[in-house]
């Protein structure tokens, strides 16, 4: 990325922390991303096959009492987020269609591993009830035992698996 746009980590962290704090003060809840993504795919599945969605104990409650799962705080946050990083990349001059990867891996292999990692995280985020933003950062600030456990386990899992995919990144 463009060097002149790069914030030192402590400043980027404070900015993200303030975003979280504003959400606490205004809405009394945390920010989060994986919830919005799951709501979107639930709606997509419901459009294609309402039968499967309604028979799923997990997804059907999103639609209980005729609710629209997309009429949700997290989905509005998601929309703002997409806009925010899009504008940021335009300002910094690094909006570009590309596949970012390490020097020793082909684009096709990188995309295959991205898909695999995405599947794992899509499942894991549902099992853990959140992801890095909604569970780790927000819960970390709330001093939640579950969130600190999550962070320790994420890093344990990451370091344990790092050796096997090192060619992708180094």
């Amino acid at each position: 990325m463009n060097v002149r746009c790069k914030l030192p980590p402590v400043f980027a962290g404070i900015l993200i922390g303030l975003v979280m704090l504003i959400a606490f003060v205004i809405s009394g809840r945390g920010i989060g991303v994986s919830g919005a993504l799951t709501r979107m795919i639930a709606v997509a599945q419901n459009t294609i096959s309402p039968q499967i969605t309604q028979s799923s104990e997990y997804f059907s409650r999103y639609f209980a009492y005729g609710q629209n799962p997309l009429d949700n705080w997290l989905v509005y946050l998601f929309a703002g987020m997409v806009l925010g990083s899009f504008i940021a990349s335009l300002i910094c001059g690094d909006f570009k269609l590309e596949v970012l990867r390490g020097p020793n891996i082909s684009a096709a292999k990188r995309l295959l591993l991205a898909l695999l990692g995405g599947i794992l995280i899509g499942f894991a985020a549902r099992l853990a009830r959140g992801c890095t933003s909604g569970l780790a950062l927000v819960g970390g600030a709330e001093l939640a035992v579950g969130s600190w456990t999550f962070m320790l386990c994420v890093f344990a899992g990451g370091y344990a698996a790092a050796y096997f995919v090192r060619k992708q990144w180094l």
Partner: protein
């Protein structure tokens, strides 16, 4: 007590939804400026080659933590109206391990992937398609792991309750851990990959030192402030700000 605004009806539910857009905007903006729209930066944490990600996480947590509990301490934030995450210990631990493997394989977490797609990158788009598949597998085959998902429920359970410490003391402890942890990670990076190390100098260094001092001072004030003074009188224990609630139906994550 006037916060949280939507719970004290200072703003309407509809206004609350609309305000999520500028909050999200700032979040996406910050993620890009932190460099988190680049998968390589995230994955290289796991080789100690670039430890910015955990340092940003530590800093964000310290900022949010000092803000949330500090505002509660001065009586501005009513934490009894606040939504706290419930803990299901074993599912969160297993989910975390899988999540970590997914992060080093895929190079993203959900938030950074969404921000990265918006900057034109293609790998996060594929990652998000994977995320959709993983979520569908979880939801459509829910009976297979539903019992495990709802097991080991601990209610709203905080570190101060775990340690048996006062809330303010726990905040101070976590601030110290965050600062020490960040410095340790940077040291490991410097030893393992000397060529990647860029020393912090000049004004940036001065501001960072000042911010660390401010965080420590705030946390110390909170630690030695009589925290029981802002707890509701009917609360059964000095450690509880929010009483544990029994939830019978599964609760969705973030």
């Amino acid at each position: 007590m006037i916060a949280p605004f939507v719970k004290t009806e200072l703003i309407s539910e509809a206004m609350n939804l609309w305000l999520a857009i500028p909050i999200g905007f700032l979040f996406g903006f910050a993620l890009h400026h932190g460099g988190f729209t680049d998968s390589r930066k995230i994955a290289r944490v796991f080789y100690f080659r670039d430890v910015d990600v955990p340092i940003v996480m530590f800093t964000a947590i310290v900022t949010g933590m000092l803000g949330l509990w500090g505002l509660s301490l001065i009586g501005y934030m009513d934490t009894s109206l606040f939504y706290f995450l419930p803990t299901y210990l074993l599912p969160v631990a297993v989910g975390g391990l899988l999540f970590g493997v997914g992060m080093v394989v895929g190079g993203f977490c959900p938030g950074t992937a969404v921000a990265s797609v918006a900057t034109g990158k293609i790998d996060p788009l594929i990652f998000i398609i994977g995320f959709f598949i993983g979520s569908l597998v979880f939801g459509d085959f829910y009976p297979v792991w539903g019992d495990f998902y709802n097991s080991d429920y601990r209610g709203v359970w905080r570190l101060d309750q775990l340690f048996g410490l006062q809330l303010g003391v726990t905040v101070l402890l976590m601030v110290v851990i965050a600062i020490a942890g960040s410095m340790f990670l940077r040291l490991v990076q410097r030893i393992a990959w000397p060529d990647t190390f860029i020393p912090v100098k000049g004004a940036v260094l001065k501001v960072q030192v000042a911010l660390i001092v401010i965080a420590l001072v705030l946390a110390t004030v909170m630690a030695f402030f009589p925290t029981s003074s802002y707890l509701p009188a009917e609360d059964d224990s000095g450690w509880h700000i929010v009483p544990r609630v029994i939830i019978t139906t599964p609760v969705s994550g973030q």
